[in-house]
Symmetry: D3
Subunit: 262 residues, 6 copies
């Protein structure tokens, strides 16, 4: 099966890191395809950028002509998933919900460590809407912005551990890494904390495999029925924007089959 992993921002290095994590998590036979929007913010650190990204992700999905069996949305706490669920016939997994769900399989309560403090209420709201907040013992920021995560990896792990310890004291038995940009740091953090650490990208890839493996997909009967036919001005946006030559085909999308397990 082929899973499309969508980095919601336009930073290619983050797409690459998310892609690597997804490949490491994928089962033999699962092909990972990673991409990002053709326009929009370089990182998402708030509602405004989240809403732009949601539209940019939907635009990317509307114009991508490669088939895939499931979509993994690799933004943490951002809006957009429900739109993709309407747009696509294949299942859509979100790393916020997937991280929380996997954490709930592993412990009684979980906590989330994220980037900036301003993202905390946004993440809590997504978990609330997803029906997954009840067993959340806390969401805590590290004070690092999304792109700062890559600057000094050692320092990044340190502040994640510090924030994680605080949510463990508040009752968390499992920690979720609350940013796509933290992909790949789970093991280092877990080694220090002594509790399981869930990487949302890895969790979502496994859940995508699970859902596709059972032949299931999004319920189309009510909330996520396909969009009704109607006129949408300038849609898809990227076909109306001057995005530079050849952008649609390169754009950091990585179509190479993953080979990590072979």
């Amino acid at each position: 099966m082929r899973i499309l992993v969508m980095n919601p921002n336009t930073t290619a290095s983050m797409t690459a890191s998310i892609r690597a994590t997804a490949i490491a998590a994928a089962a033999p036979g699962t092909e990972i395809l990673a991409t990002e929007p053709l326009w929009g913010p370089v990182s998402i650190e708030g509602h405004f950028e989240g809403y732009l990204s949601a539209a940019a992700v939907l635009d990317r999905l509307a114009t991508l002509d490669t088939p895939f069996d499931a979509l993994v949305m690799a933004g943490f706490g951002e809006p957009g998933r429900e739109g993709a669920q309407e747009l696509l016939d294949v299942p859509v997994l979100d790393i916020t919900e997937s991280a929380a769900q996997m954490a709930m399989m592993l412990g009684h309560a979980y906590g989330v460590v994220t980037t900036l403090d301003r993202a905390v209420p946004q993440i809590q709201d997504r978990l609330l809407t997803a029906g997954l907040l009840q067993r959340c013992a806390g969401v805590r920021g590290t004070g690092l912005g999304v792109l700062e995560l890559e600057e000094d990896p050692e320092r990044t792990v340190e502040v994640i551990i510090e924030a994680a310890r605080a949510v463990v004291r508040a009752g968390a038995e499992v920690i979720c890494l609350g940013c796509g940009g933290m992909a790949g740091l789970d093991e280092k953090v877990a080694a220090e904390l002594g509790v399981p650490v869930v990487d949302g990208v890895a969790a979502a890839v496994k859940f995508a495999e699970a859902v596709v493996g059972l032949g299931l997909t999004t319920s189309r009967g009510r909330s996520f029925a396909p969009p009704r036919p109607k006129s949408i001005g300038s849609w898809p946006l990227s076909t109306h924007l001057d995005l530079g030559r050849g952008r649609g085909s390169s754009c950091h999308t990585d179509f190479s089959a993953q080979t990590s397990d072979i």
Copy 2:
């Protein structure tokens, strides 16, 4: 003071109807400015269109060069408000929350009557996130699409009353009209039902006047801090789209001062 009322879809007749309702609600001295996005769907009937509209509304706000003192977002149940709260220094009111809040001032429990059944969970989620769901006795669709509301006004009022009766039986003591396209129908519905009917556009205009009147605005300390400076590709979108000549300045925006009370 000047209140900008934003119709989230691109249907000019709906902007006009929302504008008329806003003007009727406004106090003497309040100027109503009504507009709509420069691109996007002609109506919003689901998550996908809602997310497109959110970006289109933010785009419209980013490029509008007329000052205003408060924004009223006239979509019901759609996403986007938090983005505008980050983007703007002036207060932002949303007709979903405003309708519910005014209803809670008038009765113990309220109900919402909306368009299609598929919008029901979306509206409930917005009310949940807003912290206003506890006293909601029910949200119910009429089966009419957004643009169908205008087709046969008599039939529209009939089906609204029918749905409203069902939520009253479920405990609602006040009814909220759950679509910007229902603006102006409150009195006809109330006359039949015998309980107060709240038009969200009217409620939001009054609340905007209230907030501005007290010199208050959005808290900028955490959730709705201004966006951090960063690179956003193709932003603002409308300046990169070929939207036709002069579109930016006309576009069904109605700058005329409201005169209903003079």
Copy 3:
């Protein structure tokens, strides 16, 4: 329109201060009429006094022969509002709910600063019943009794700021002043905190203007149907009590039209 602002205790200086705040908040054309009960406690600092006050307020309403268009009840956390909603045909606003509702228009979560710690659960219960507790990040006492608030205004502002900082740390993005006796201190507190501060009296006056402005009033269909005709011994109480000559007509009620905006 004429708004009656009811101080729930019998302390005239507090009525005056509440009246001044209401006048400052009122729009041109809004007349503020402020009064207080004819009997009952000089301040309300608990359930017992709250229940006495509720009856005294209802008694005052039953005997007042001046017409008004809306009632603002200026006690914070006390019972009584629902009784007034049954008794009156005009809308009834309560400063507890109004402060919370306005705060929810301005930020994601709000906090309340009140007088004595013993009032904290009482306020939380009122917000719970009102369906407004979900987004409350905390209610915190200053340790000052209601009448002590007026004794040393500088110290009062200091302790309010200290308590407000604690609820901000707990996630509040907006602060509500949780006592009618704190009316007028909002700006000083806001200047120090850097987040919006809501004065419940001001908020309730604006919401009263909003509700009346739209021609709406309390739903009379279920919870707040008018009292059924029946025998009530010694009612209205004040007509059976020896309250001193002429009390019914003077009693610190201030009928003068507000002129602050002219």
Copy 4:
């Protein structure tokens, strides 16, 4: 021990009926003292009357010079209990909460059958505030007013059974009789329904015996600390009202020791 049972309205026949139920429930050695307010409504069917009654009950308590070991407040859904808890050093039981608590000892979910539909939200709010609503499967009115309950006892039992069946269908495994005026009907209703039926008066008497039997009483540390010393105009009200000669000592209070178990 001596338990004071307070009928919140002034109807002597209801006091007598409540007293009889309390005596039937009491253990040997428990003395039942039943009384009612000296003024106020003949029945309580809404918030307005409930608030008057709360003050009238507190007034009665403030002037009663007979010692007792626990108070049972026999109104269902009305306010007032917290005031009595502040005023008295002895424990205070309320039939609303006691009925719900006993029901929760007997089944997974319970339901309440009450008088008028307008009381339903009021009862739900009391249960919510008491922290007992989660396992409530429904509250349902019979359409009979409080004083109508006594008019045609056979019809009364019939409509109670009909309403009870509806809440059983909604998941209730135990039924609470939701009005002091239904005291004594539990067995007839239970015989028809096949599920336990809880009479709140009986439950509260047993719980009062339980609390007193363990030497426990209301926590005085925070919510229910004694009222602070202060001036309260015209208090206690009954000493300032012209209530007729000797009313304070007779007033349908029944001081006779209960003898049912001897």
Copy 5:
């Protein structure tokens, strides 16, 4: 009436201590019968032991041939109660729920002090399922294991007081002793804290007296209907186990009538 008090572990000294507390709480005329399972863990400090104990308790109940009028289950936070409710025709009280319910009669919010920190989420879950968590201000461990409680009584009281102070600071107005092994320590703890302390065993005995006194028992209509007739391998377990001679009749069961009040 005769109340069977079940210590869920096999430690006879704990049965004795629980029995003594039950006798001290019982009314004249109430006979206390205390026993423990015939097999299973010596103490319960987690889910695994809790589930074993649940089966061992049910086994004990299935083979006990002494009649009783109510069962008090003296484990705190462990599973099993619902099974006994199905198995028995008499009412079943649990000290977790009884402690919480009595605490809610005495104050606005309560807290629980228990043994090991690992039990905290387990207790919270039991209270959640029981519909009693809303007014719980906190559950806190002392760090002492169940059997360590008896080792140094003075130290035990000290650490209980320390933990209790923490939950009082968090808003608890009443403290519940959260382990059957803490039976009898309530007065010492209360004397230090100044708030009521509830011993669950004592509370459950009084509530058993209350329920039996009113002739009520578990609703058999749905959740707690009697088990359906079916084949259960090796049941009752104790009749298939080699438990030693005469174990079934002695086994630390204490049939002597309680005489504390005579």
Copy 6:
């Protein structure tokens, strides 16, 4: 990897059916090992049997000497999972939670169709404790007992569809089959309903693969720390029971590697 699937009752035909469903769901390379307790009820239809089964399952786990990488507990709504999580170092999945979690990946709200109506509150309680009830639109019984499910498969599918339609009307967008005995019926039901149908056994197998695939297991830090060393009488039970020769090694355990995908 090897997944142990535990049928909680002793009915071998049900173990076989659950095993077949698990095998069909398993990925290539996953070995399914299915077994059942050595003693206990032939089916679980209530709390009493559930608690017996919990102990019997733990007993089976304590004595099984075959290694496995994850446990799937195939009872729906029964207790026991937390005990296995303490006992084992490998992850433990439960079909109740797994079904709900997979359903939440596919739609906004889900519903559960189960056997007897008496199981409904039990299932709701498990979902509540698991933090998964918020998005449950309803749990509904078919009226068929567990073993009756196999009697007339056509009728079984019919009544499941009928019950499913009712929860769809209540808002469910996905249906969970709420009994291990319904394993394998998902496709027939889905074909009729037009919404996704989740088989809990299949979901749990996929989630076990996901968790094991990422090298994760239960958090051992708090709720699910290993049992403390202590004396447990007659444990493991099966070694003290006379269960017949060779039972421990045959007992319907099916060790054959699954070959469905080869």
